[in-house]
């Protein structure tokens, strides 16, 4: 299994990375991706996520080749 993982804004600063590739381990949902990508850092309150550029929940399944993104509450406009 291979996943492309991205972090944005303050989460990129907190995790010390903007992008990584996870290979090998089978991960079943977004929360498992967070735990694997961050070495099980606590999930900051109100963190949002997306799969393949679509808003998702942490229980949503992930599949080989997916891009999973983590980001804080949005503040556009």
């Amino acid at each position: 299994m291979q996943l492309n993982v991205k972090f944005f804004a303050s989460l990129a600063e907190q995790t010390g990375t903007r992008q990584m590739t996870l290979r090998g381990t089978h991960l079943s949902n977004v929360l498992e991706v967070w735990n694997q990508a961050t070495a099980e850092k606590p999930l900051p309150q109100n963190t949002l996520c997306a799969i393949n550029c679509v808003h998702a929940s942490f229980k949503d399944p992930v599949h080989d080749g997916d891009e999973v993104a983590f980001f804080p509450p949005v503040t556009g406009g």
Binding site: C53, V74, T75, G76, G77
Partner: protein
């Protein structure tokens, strides 16, 4: 329908006029627009500039989806969203939204819908630069 992300400052009034001029005359009876502009104070502090980060692929996808929703729901003739990213200075336009429809109610409602949804869900993040340093707006106590 037009969506664009813009790294450089733009004149919203000129942009709106140019876009309107490109539309077929007579096919719409109303246009409602919203322009969001950067203020020089926030949360009691002077703000020198802000950096607007975004998730480029998702932003484009999300805004196109948002305009599709608005066009279908209110039967719009045309819509426009232009959003800045990168470094922004006080007075700069951050976002321009416009909706053209046959009648005013649909234009008003669609324009309001697009800005409210954009603010709630579009993947942008503001980092303010103040005299006391930098801060992410989503981390601010009353953002």
């Amino acid at each position: 329908m037009a969506v664009s992300l813009c790294a450089e400052p733009f004149d919203p009034w000129l942009t709106l006029a140019q876009h309107a001029a490109s539309l077929r005359k007579g096919d719409h009876g109303a246009c409602a627009s919203f322009i969001g502009t950067m203020r020089d104070t926030n949360l009691g502090d002077a703000v020198q500039s802000l950096t607007l980060e975004h998730y480029p692929e998702m932003t484009q996808h999300y805004l196109e989806s948002l305009t599709d929703q608005a066009v279908n729901r209110w039967q719009l003739n045309h819509s426009l969203i232009i959003h800045r990213y990168g470094q922004i200075l006080p007075g700069d336009t951050i976002v321009l939204i416009a909706a053209w429809s046959a009648h005013r109610a649909e234009a008003f409602e669609a324009c309001r819908y697009m800005i409210e949804e954009l603010k709630a869900r579009a993947p942008f993040w503001k980092k303010e630069i103040t005299q006391n340093g930098e801060r992410w707006l989503h981390d601010a106590p009353s953002s």
